[in-house]
């Protein structure tokens, strides 16, 4: 059992190998200090035995105090030395741990910045967050004190045994019978505790979700007068929480008293068997007292074992997950294109098919060409593949088959950074970072002057709103900042793209959350921006469709038709009816009356 855990320890270290090796001298220093720390502990039991058997009898026989004084001075010195050893042990271990963890955190972040979007589609934010926060913390605990405790458990329990055997082997064997018993009990408990704690954490997650849902749906709860049934539902979840809390903590409460009596039991053995040996003269009293003192030292490995087992096994899991993350291929490895010239704006789809790695094909054999400077609208029902199609152009995903050419060059041959920074894209759901409004708008051009930022904001119809805020462009937005509405967020995002001044513009149905008046104003601005650049718009509304040179109708991942609005309206019955029946109602919608 103990061996298996040491294996886990080495496996964890191995997974972090490059980061561990970079700071191996610190680890070596730490290991040396461990020996100093633990071996110097024995000064006391050795002194106790010696003083009892040699110094005290001399004193009682009227001898001088020099022997006693010498022992005292040696002990004081060993105390100071041991303090220094402990100090350097902790400094080395923690210095080692914090450095390794800093490097791992940097590497993980670097990796995450370059992981493909397909990877992000598969994972959820909470999960990734816990990978980098919780898992790294677990690794730090392992490096900072997990290794220390493990080694000291092994060192102390073996060296004490050796020392005891050396001094008095029969008594040593008698006392040592308790060690495996207590360690086995502890390990049994710790295994059950781990699953209980995991269950406790799951339940905590469920409880928090329950509260979160209730609070964000509180208006529905009130409207439906559902307060009582909500309380009842919460009562159940809360009750389960209590059950799992108790399960986990009672195990701990049961284990603690068992560990507490370990030296009591040991003491009884020493007193009974050792006492007998002292009486028949085959052992000295000093040895007996020394053994009691050893017992005090043995408390540490026994009491720390459960905690240490948990630390190591959690870190093994965590390091495994981190390793998987770090080994995932990213966009840097997948695409090594070097072309970084200016984008002119011709886009060709050449028999492009695409599927996300778990699902049905989303695009099937799509071929069409957008000339530089052309304005093209993508039209189609939800799920027809519009958003996927546009996300292939900046190569967020490589096509499953076929080729996409930008200015006649395969998009895989382009340098991603260069290509993407020349394509302006406004997404349907936008995201603002926790920073000032100004730096959010200047996201693509961090060095832009405030005048240019304001100009972009004016064109996106958001300047007035920003100026009405107390701190104006310095107002903090995002998760920790002031709340802005969906429409305001969208306009800030549009300003961000306007300031970027890209060679090619992709708009993913980004104005539909605005009211009609604002939308029209912004569309006028976007139309001006689109002047002379290739523009691809995902659109539902007639007003937008009319602006496009050509409309690409997507149905079920295939191109159903391509033509101008007027001609499609004339000859494509489906398009006509779609435009007439829903779009007029929903999009020119009465919401903006």
């Amino acid at each position: 059992m103990r061996n298996a855990l040491s294996v886990l320890m080495f496996r964890t270290l191995l997974r972090l190998q490059p980061y561990v090796l970079a700071h191996k001298s610190l680890l070596a220093g730490a290991l040396m200090s461990v020996l100093g720390t633990d071996l110097l502990t024995y000064a006391i039991p050795v002194a106790v035995a010696y003083v009892t058997d040699v110094v005290y009898p001399e004193l009682q026989a009227g001898g001088s105090f020099t022997g006693l004084a010498r022992v005292f001075v040696i002990l004081v010195f060993s105390g100071i030395l041991r303090g220094l050893a402990v100090h350097s042990m902790i400094r080395f271990f923690w210095g080692f741990a914090e450095r390794v963890v800093r490097d791992v955190r940097d590497a993980t972040y670097r990796k995450m910045q370059h992981l493909s979007l397909a990877f992000y589609d598969r994972s959820n934010t909470g999960d990734l967050m816990s990978r980098v926060t919780y898992d790294i913390q677990l690794v730090r605990n392992f490096l900072a004190f997990g290794i220390e405790h493990r080694i000291r458990i092994v060192v102390i329990s073996t060296t004490i045994f050796a020392l005891m055997l050396y001094v008095q082997w029969q008594l040593a064997l008698a006392v040592y019978t308790i060690v495996p018993v207590f360690m086995t009990i502890t390990l049994m408990f710790s295994r059950r505790m781990r699953s209980a704690v995991a269950e406790q954490q799951n339940q905590m997650g469920r409880l928090n979700t329950r509260i979160q849902e209730n609070l964000s749906g509180i208006r529905v709860v009130k409207a439906f007068a559902a307060e009582d049934s909500e309380k009842e539902r919460f009562r159940q979840t809360n009750g389960h929480m209590l059950d799992t809390d108790l399960k986990a903590s009672l195990l701990q409460a049961l284990l603690n008293p068992i560990l507490m009596i370990s030296d009591g039991i040991g003491g009884i053995i020493i007193l009974l068997y050792g006492g007998l040996r002292v009486m028949d003269g085959s052992m000295s009293l000093g040895v007996l007292l020394g053994f009691i003192s050893y017992l005090g030292i043995l408390r540490f490995p026994i009491s720390i074992l459960a905690f240490n087992t948990a630390t190591i096994s959690m870190a093994t899991g965590a390091s495994g997950r981190l390793r998987v993350l770090l080994d995932t291929p990213d966009q840097k490895e997948e695409s090594r294109g070097q072309r970084s010239s200016r984008v002119l704006g011709k886009v060709e789809f050449d028999h492009v098919s695409f599927q996300y790695d778990y699902a049905q094909p989303v695009l099937r054999d799509v071929s069409f060409t957008i000339e530089a400077g052309e304005r093209v609208a993508l039209f189609g029902l939800t799920g027809s593949g519009k958003s996927t199609l546009i996300s292939l152009i900046p190569r967020y995903y490589p096509p499953s088959s076929g080729i996409i050419r930008i200015d006649g060059v395969n998009s895989s041959a382009w340098n991603l950074q260069s290509l993407r920074s020349q394509i302006g894209i406004v997404l349907q759901e936008t995201f603002l970072f926790s920073a000032s409004i100004a730096s959010n708008i200047a996201f693509a051009r961090p060095d832009a002057s405030i005048e240019r930022i304001r100009a972009a904001a004016k064109r996106a119809q958001i300047d007035d709103f920003i100026m009405s805020l107390p701190k104006q462009y310095d107002t903090l937005v995002g998760e920790y900042g002031v709340g802005v509405s969906g429409g305001q967020k969208q306009r800030i995002a549009i300003a961000r793209t306007l300031l970027q001044d890209p060679a090619m513009l992709i708009l993913d149905d980004c104005t539909s959350s605005l009211d009609a008046e604002t939308e029209q104003q912004i569309q006028r601005q976007l139309a001006r921006l689109a002047e002379g650049r290739t523009t691809i718009i995902v659109a539902q509304r007639v007003s937008t469709l009319e602006l496009a040179d050509r409309i690409v109708i997507l149905a079920d991942g295939r191109i159903a038709d391509i033509d101008s609005h007027s001609r499609l309206y004339e000859r494509n019955a489906l398009y006509r009816s779609a435009v007439q029946s829903q779009n007029v109602l929903a999009n020119a919608g009465a919401s903006e009356l």
Partner: protein, 598 residues
């Protein structure tokens, strides 16, 4: 008691880490222990028994050594061993009882506190939730309650029992030999310094590190949530640079912590050796004077380092208490917020709603003097369908809020079936109306559970009859597990259109006398649009319906249209009438639909 308005200011104060000790708060918290007085008493009894056994063991050992081993009395030694065994068993039983009770009481108290907080939140009015971010309330009910859990882990019994323990060890030592117990003068102040001074620094540094780490994590969180934007602007390398420097800041703080930690344990190690060394030295002198026996020295060796742990626990506890004070303050702050809208004492009993609604000169302002509806007057009879239209900010949503009595009018009256709305019991009234909101807030659970949210006692047949009436039965049957399909957190496993239809079903199953529908403005796919359209008809039939309409078909079907502008009702009438009257409505409709609706 604090009213909701002032509570807003208080809750928005910065979240302090530690709080001052306040007897008032402590008393309120202690109320939660009252139901467990018996167990608490038993726990303390067990704890003191535990202390007694703990103290007695070294003394018994001393007797065993001095009176039996040294005197060669093996029978006596057997007696000592038996006593020891009894003490060990006592230690075990008492320790176990104490630990188990402590956890049981503690977690029950936390459970009760959480339940109270949740129940209280359910009673609060809209104005509270308008001004409080969900995240902030969440942190009250999760993090602040968590602090109490940590308090519990630090030991409910700590201060009292540990002080008794320390006093008992001291007494035992003085009883054994008062001269030898002078060694305490070195070790106790030493440990106390470590625990009360160094540990305080340690905690303070630890909090600073925590702050740096939270910066790192916040940045990370955003980098994950905003990855698409980052990709779009090719900002990866800049982000990596920023992250590295945040991470370096954290490391910089961390490097201040562990040297302190090293000093802490260095002192503990040195004092831990110094204590026994002194015992051996002074013990030797006393022994040579034949004032004590060797067993006394052995007992002292056992006692001398037992001061550290209780002292450390006390110090931990003091820190925990000050954190818990801050948390208690925040928790009770919420508990003290009173709802704005409370039922009157003499409400109409057993009210049955038929659905006549009248607004009489209704003025309303969310913030003082900023009126969002002005002098609103209209009357709706039972069974009519009313479409409410108007630009954003014209007061449409406010009409809904007032109609549901989420707020009371600032001036004027809302009359329902001849009664002022404030004369009705909120629960009575709301259980006879139904609201469908634009953003259909769903709860995790199955389809059936979500529909039953509207009427928890409905059986499966009723659920089915509702979905059949709406024409969504087949859609539900086509999902995996059909009615038992798990819709995920907030309904994330089903589409927006499906969520809206479920919200309709949830309302229809109540068979409300008044239906209030805030039609979704977003366009769904063809199929779902058709379903939504016919479901809307079904939903409005046979009851008073208010629809904030976004679809022309809905508006055309309405018995009357209320046209709102800047908080006032500017026109009302049927679609055709309004069109021909050539007012605001006609202008807007012509402008919007005139061109393409040919």
């Amino acid at each position: 008691m604090i009213s909701q308005k002032t509570a807003v200011d208080i809750l928005s104060q910065s979240e302090e880490e530690t709080g001052r000790f306040q007897t008032k708060l402590l008393k309120r918290f202690l109320v939660y222990f009252r139901p467990y007085t018996k167990q608490l008493t038993l726990m303390y009894a067990a704890a003191f028994l535990n202390v007694a056994a703990f103290i007695a063991i070294p003394v018994v050992m001393q007797i065993g050594i001095d009176e039996h081993i040294v005197q060669n009395d093996y029978h006596g030694l057997l007696g000592t061993a038996a006593t020891l065994l009894l003490l060990v068993i006592l230690l075990y039983i008492a320790g176990r009882t104490q630990g188990v009770l402590m956890m049981k009481i503690g977690y029950r108290v936390i459970h009760d506190l959480r339940a109270d907080l949740f129940a209280h939140l359910q009673t609060l009015s809209f104005s509270f939730f308008d001004t409080q971010r969900t995240g902030r309330i969440m942190s009250r009910i999760t993090n602040d309650v968590q602090v109490f859990e940590e308090l519990l882990r630090a030991g409910l019994d700590t201060i009292v029992v540990d002080v008794v323990l320390l006093a008992s060890i001291t007494t035992a030592m003085i009883y054994l030999d008062s001269w030898l117990s002078l060694v305490l003068l070195v070790t106790v102040p030493g440990f106390a310094f470590v625990v009360f001074v160094l540990q305080k620094y340690l905690l303070r540094t630890g909090r600073r590190i925590q702050r740096e780490l939270s910066h790192v994590n916040a940045f990370l969180n955003e980098s994950i949530s905003g990855i698409r934007v980052i990709r779009a602007f090719a900002r990866e390398e800049e982000n990596i640079t920023s992250f590295t420097s945040l991470n370096e800041n954290y490391f910089h703080e961390a490097r201040k912590l562990y040297p302190l930690l090293s000093w802490f344990w260095q002192c503990v190690a040195t004092i831990g050796t110094l204590g026994p060394a002194l015992v051996l030295l002074i013990g030797g002198i006393r022994l040579s004077q034949e004032m004590i026996t060797i067993g006394v020295i052995a007992a002292f060796l056992t006692y001398i380092n037992r001061f550290f742990q209780p002292l450390q626990k006390i110090s931990n506890m003091l820190n925990q208490i000050s954190r818990a004070m801050a948390s208690a303050e925040r928790i009770f702050e919420i508990m003290d917020v009173q709802p704005d809208i409370v039922d009157r004492i003499n409400c109409v009993p057993d009210f049955r709603l038929s659905g006549n609604v009248e607004f009489r000169n209704v003025w309303f302002a969310y913030k003082t003097d900023e009126f969002v509806t002005r002098d609103l007057t209209f009357r709706v009879s039972e069974g009519q369908t009313i479409a409410v239209v108007g630009p954003t900010g014209s007061g449409k949503t406010t009409i809904i809020n007032l109609l549901c009595r989420f707020y009371d009018p600032t001036e004027g009256q809302i009359i329902v079936d001849g009664f002022d709305l404030t004369q009705l019991v909120q629960k009575d009234y709301r259980s006879q109306i139904a609201l469908v909101m634009q953003d259909p807030n769903m709860f995790s659970g199955t389809i059936a559970e979500n529909i039953r949210f509207g009427r928890p006692d409905a059986d499966m047949a009723t659920v089915r009859s509702v979905t059949t009436a709406m024409g969504i039965d087949t859609m539900i049957e086509s999902l995996p597990d059909a009615y038992d399909h798990d819709i995920g957190e907030r309904g994330s496993n089903i589409s927006l259109g499906q969520r809206q239809l479920l919200a309709f079903a949830r309302a229809l199953i109540r068979d409300p006398a008044i239906l209030i529908l805030d039609e979704a403005s977003s366009y769904l796919d063809n199929e779902t649009e058709k379903l939504v359209h016919s479901a809307t008809q079904t939903l409005c039939k046979g009851r008073t319906s208010f629809v904030i309409a976004h679809r022309l078909s809905t508006i055309q079907h309405a018995d009357r249209i209320l046209v709102m502008n800047q908080g006032t009702l500017v026109e009302q009438g049927k679609h055709a009438e309004l069109l021909s009257s050539g007012g605001l409505y006609a202008n807007l409709v012509m402008a919007q639909y005139g061109g393409s609706d040919d």
